[in-house]
């Protein structure tokens, strides 16, 4: 994860408006959402763009929180988040460590959503929303599907190897511009 962090910071040097490295606890995720919103308000982009970026940040961070597994978090910071402003677009970058089996499930779910057309994505979204179970953690991929739909195709993900056996790194890069 360190090399990825270096790579992101080099690529977006001078354009990172908010970053966090550490543990994705519920309290910390809430604080990051709050601080990222303050940053968005300060920059004063158009309201629709700010709202779209904020919604994606909320979904992606809460999705990560739900994936979090027990780790030696002091030894292995398991989460990084960057918010980048480049010209008229925002870039949201996240990396989180997750167990290999969860990574495979997430990958399969994303792949299945990305093969769908826009109308099929909307139908799937409505199916999950209307028929999915009412659970503590949402689920059934609704948050992931919302992120993919909101990013208008500017959604990139990778499952990367982790230095810890049995784990993988989930990397998201989402570009959001005024529609």
């Amino acid at each position: 994860m360190k090399s990825l962090t270096r790579s992101i910071e080099k690529e977006h040097k001078g354009k990172i408006i908010f970053s966090y490295k550490g543990i994705p606890s519920e309290e910390m995720i809430h604080s990051i959402i709050h601080l990222a919103e303050a940053k968005l308000d300060f920059i004063k982009s158009g309201k629709p763009l700010r709202k779209k970026v904020f919604r994606i940040i909320v979904e992606i961070l809460q999705n990560i929180l739900h994936q979090e597994e027990e780790l030696d978090v002091l030894k292995y910071p398991s989460f990084i988040f960057y918010l980048v402003k480049e010209e008229d677009q925002y870039i949201i970058l996240t990396c989180n460590r997750l167990i290999k089996e969860t990574a495979i499930q997430v990958k399969e779910r994303i792949k299945s959503f990305m093969t769908l057309s826009q109308s099929e994505q909307r139908k799937t979204y409505l199916d999950i929303l209307g028929n999915g179970r009412f659970t503590d953690k949402g689920g059934a991929g609704l948050g992931l599907l919302e992120i993919i739909r909101s990013s208008d195709g500017n959604f990139h993900y990778e499952i990367l190897p982790s230095e810890i056996r049995g784990y993988k790194i989930l990397y998201f890069k989402i570009k959001v511009a005024e529609s």
């Binding site: 959402i33 904020f54 929180l65 739900h66 409505l126 009412f134 948050g143």
Partner: protein
């Protein structure tokens, strides 16, 4: 029938449920990590309301932000009101949106497809 009032927080909306008048208002933002924890008590409250509901029930939703977890919970909540239609009572959902907020407008349209109670989309 009692009323239910909850002040909004950074993550949860303001709630004003008036059991006597049948006016239900949800406003602010709804982005809790665990929406079921917040909405389940409201759903239980509505289940009780249904037994002695007003002749006309109106639901007013003015949300600034929401997450998908909250949307799932709102579907569950609004579906509880469908029982009123079966006993000949009136109920409608008023979904408010700002003109430039396409996502909020689309979510209102989604509810038209997901629930049986009439949904009015109201531009603020």
């Amino acid at each position: 029938m009692n009323s239910l009032f909850l002040a909004g927080t950074a993550k949860t909306p303001s709630i004003s449920f008036d059991g006597k008048s049948g006016k239900f208002e949800i406003s602010g933002r709804s982005i809790p990590e665990n929406s079921a924890k917040f909405y389940m008590p409201l759903i239980e409250w509505v289940d009780n309301y249904i037994n002695s509901a007003a002749e006309d029930t109106s639901i007013h939703v003015r949300l600034e932000y929401f997450n998908t977890s909250s949307l799932k919970s709102l579907v569950e909540l609004f579906r509880r009101f469908e029982k009123l239609l079966l006993v000949g009572k009136q109920v409608e959902l008023n979904w408010y949106y700002e003109p430039e907020d396409e996502d909020m407008y689309e979510s209102g349209e989604d509810f038209r497809l997901l629930i049986r109670i009439p949904v009015k989309l109201i531009r603020i």
